[in-house]
Amino acid sequence: MKVLDQGINPLFMDPDPDKAREFFRKKPRAMVDKRMTEKEVVAKFIPDGCYLGIGGFGANRIPTAVIHEILRARRKNLGFLGHTSTHDFQLLCAGKCFNRLDAAYIVGLEARGLSPNARRYMESGEVKVCEWTNYALAARLRAAAEGVSFAIVRSMLGTDTLKMSAAKVIECPFTGKKFAAVPALWPDVAVIHVHEADMYGNAVFRGISIADLELARAAKHVIVTAERLVNNFTIRNNPTATSIPFYLVDAVVEVPYGSYPGNMPYLYFSDEEHLAAWMKAEKDPKEFEAFLDHYIYGVSCFEEYLDRCGGLKKLKELQKLETLVEK
């Protein structure tokens, strides 16, 4: 297949499907109790330097507790999948946790504006970046999930996004038309927040899937954080609902309100007040340091963070907002 053009930025992960198959061949399939704490999963599955993917959509259905623990464990030099990332990205920038980045959506928090601290970090030159689009990254995960070395997309063609990616423009052997080939991406570890899981890792999320079905099937290790643990029979009573089967999952962490301050579909809305406080604190690096100490480094666990943010009272308000209960 002729390569007609290609991006000039580095490819961070090996797209060889046979190396991935070798890994997956050895991955345990036993249906065993995989319950762990946030601290344990970060210690065991998220070492310095590994390549990390986060599920959800930035500030919607995100595994906040594990990200906080990554900061508290002072993880450094991670690779990061910057796919639809907003508050998750903001957090990892606050801890300067990564130094290489596949970027599709970064720095911004959608309608809330750009994160001043994420901007500072990205403009500092400390991070190696490779550009993609949201679809290109979803397609890279899909290729990995399918066990092939690349996906074909019609995105990026003719633009600087392609030039600053690691994609290649190829000619279709059937039609002669041009397409962008994007390499499969097998992250070392993915963390995905769900509504329910059993202790073996059978996981159910509701609402939109974003790229989580692909991410769970592409990542070498998968950590599921769940709003609540359910009995295995609950899963077996409605297997149609299962989003992620247990043999993909390495660890299960029960974290009620685990997507806070993000939105969790059908359960609680995002805490816009707290997210606005983040943006405000970030403007001044000194103030931001104190802010991080108060909310992340100075607390021992996620429950303590929830308490500092207003606790159950605040969470009840967010539940009302989510379910559109009239005031």
Binding site: E131, T133, L157, N263, S270
Partner: protein, 256 residues
């Protein structure tokens, strides 16, 4: 004579008029979503709203804050994912998409990645997100933006999402499917693109705006439509529905 309105309200009302009934539109949060909701409530009840994170045809109860928040699939017909939405666009079933960016050039190319040198950026912006995908796949893309020389530039520092690239035939040569920029709606005018050269062309001036003003706020030579028109101001009906039903909390229209 219609009642007073701000520029955000005007841009939203104008954009909504381009969204025909029975078509599909991919939107983000903010003004594009408001335009699509307004169109649904006024003249296009069967307009299908899509969100890249997976929301398909929701009955939007209020303006979403995020393209992936739960409002985007409230009473939707499907809660899908990124691959489903983008493949729907790529196979040609999405008519309109709204885009945004820090810079736009005369062929409708958009920069939402960096201002300044790529490796030493003056400002790092979010990057493509889904914008490059929409700009590549959707039949007609639209932009709503404030009109200024800093935004309407001769050359983008970085082309994140394709318009007509270098002009006639360039999209096709790059391998992009048919489609491309359709309307640029600013606080001063509505612009389209010349059929032959694919360069940006002023089509109508908003009430009280003269051509010189538009030229002064544009960093490149603008074409002017032979039948240059006047934009109809927002009607009382448009403004009422926008204010009372679409954005009662003034999340978007309050930003003007």
């Amino acid at each position: 004579m219609s009642s007073p309105y701000n520029m955000m309200e005007m841009m939203i009302c104008i954009a909504s008029r381009f969204l025909e009934d029975g078509k599909t539109v991919a939107v983000g949060t903010g003004a594009p979503c408001a335009a699509a909701m307004l169109a649904q409530k006024l003249h296009s009840p069967n307009l299908i709203i899509l969100f890249e994170a997976g929301g398909v045809a929701p009955l939007l109860p209020q303006m979403p804050i995020s393209v992936g928040d739960s409002r985007t699939f409230f009473r939707a017909v499907m809660a899908a994912g990124m691959n489903e939405m983008m493949t729907t666009c790529c196979r040609g079933q999405v008519d309109y998409a709204f885009l945004g960016g820090a810079q736009i050039d005369k062929y409708g190319n958009i920069n939402s990645t960096v201002v300044g040198d790529y490796y030493k950026p003056k400002v790092r912006f979010p990057g493509s997100g889904g914008a490059n995908d929409f700009a590549s796949f959707c039949w007609r893309t639209m932009i709503m933006t404030v009109h200024s020389k800093a935004r309407f530039v001769e050359k983008c520092d970085f082309i994140t999402s394709p318009g007509y690239l270098t002009g006639a035939g360039a999209r096709e040569a790059a391998g992009l499917p048919q489609g491309g920029p359709y309307k640029i709606i600013t606080d001063l005018a509505v612009m389209g693109f010349d059929e032959e050269t694919r360069a940006m062309k002023v089509e109508s001036l908003h009430p009280g705006v003269e051509l010189d003003k538009v030229r002064a706020e544009t960093g490149f030579e603008l074409l002017v439509a032979k039948d240059l028109g006047r934009t109809d101001p927002p009607t009382d009906e448009e403004l009422r529905i926008l204010r009372e039903e679409v954005d009662p909390l003034r999340l978007v229209i309050g930003r003007a």
